[in-house]
Subunit: 217 residues, 2 copies
């Protein structure tokens, strides 16, 4: 199937939204949780969390114009702190539910059955049911002029994850943590490891890393 | 396991790179292909491709300081055109190999066994073995001051995908296309659909979409 720019414009709006949201491939399934200055908790699905750098540990996410995102963003601007929490197969339905347009004064934690938990004096709540989660401090908000969205950049200050989901060299075992991928607007995928591959060298074809023979990679 | 900011700084550099690259969750496994003005083809893995908006269809990716990324970026600046191509389980080893630091004059297509193909007069090459692939025109390059990376924004002008990977409403079936997720720096995952969920409403818990009963969702 070939779709050019002209055909893309002519597509039904819903069709185009599904198509363009799906076509970039799989997205990390995360919940971003915040708390307003006045103490109102907020949590919502964000499928646009992206690694920006490891030193310092900087993570971005894209902010669109919608109502759900706005509450999250207002809280981040007010307080500077937020958490990112992996969606796993025990909470993906509750997580998806948190994307509904709940009013400002409703905590999506209470409305959906996700549990908020406060760890190590971090200001924003975490999602208790998430196995991998981390706290961030706002660094920068960057305008994307092409379509009036924003890239929100934060620095990781706190990380929580189960010991059995981190290998000896720091590799994070997402499958063991039950972390999911999102496809398009509404598809939740489990992960099935094909292989880890050796560091790419020009001189040879990468080889699968044998977890059993080298201290779990 | 709890890692605070101080502990994070003290970690071995390799450990921290694996950890921070892994902790954001799964990433789309894509190849970006370009051609220089002088006709040199280039292709490399990018795990930072991100949806920015559907109307217009805008896609971003993050550019770091590395050599591999620089060749891609130089070609995009010179020519304005590039393609994004999904990595699937038939080409993930070849794709990973393309990340090695090949010299500027070496085509990673020739070096790795990925095939370049030109479609519908689009300037940049596509990866023939990718089932889902699209061509973009550069729109904007945005500096991320916090760590001197860049967000490169492009508009989709051409889309190629097999008919059996798009449902009636535009949903892109990534699993059917064999599209993969990347974890950390070197893990390649296949997708296993848990469920598609109905549009989130405040009043009810989302339900799995039954593909068989509603025209495949």
């Amino acid at each position: 199937m070939y779709i050019n720019e002209e055909k893309l414009k002519e597509l039904h709006n819903h069709y185009r939204i599904h198509l363009i949201n799906g076509i970039t491939g799989t997205k990390a399934a995360n919940l971003i949780a915040t708390k307003s200055k006045s103490g109102l908790e907020n949590v919502a699905v964000f499928s646009s969390v992206i690694h920006l750098g490891s030193e310092p540990a900087l993570i971005g996410f894209i902010l669109r114009q919608g109502k759900v995102e706005r509450h999250t963003f207002e809280n981040i601007l007010e307080t500077k702190y937020y958490t990112i929490n992996h969606i796993n197969d025990t909470i993906y339905t509750k997580s998806h539910h948190s994307s509904a347009k709940f009013p400002r004064e409703t905590s999506e934690f209470l409305a959906t059955g996700l549990n908020s938990v406060y760890l190590n004096n971090f200001y924003a709540p975490y999602v208790e049911q998430s196995l991998i989660k981390f706290g961030l401090e706002l660094q920068e908000v960057i305008e994307i002029k092409s379509n009036e969205t924003k890239l929100v950049v934060g620095k990781i200050t706190d990380i929580h994850l189960p010991s059995n989901c981190v290998h000896e060299n720091g590799f994070v075992d997402l499958q063991n943590a039950g972390s999911m991928s999102i496809g398009g607007l509404d598809a939740y995928y489990n992960l099935d490891l094909q292989a880890r591959l050796s560091y790419a060298e020009t001189s040879e074809i990468p080889k699968p890393i044998d977890f059993n023979n080298n201290g779990r990679g």
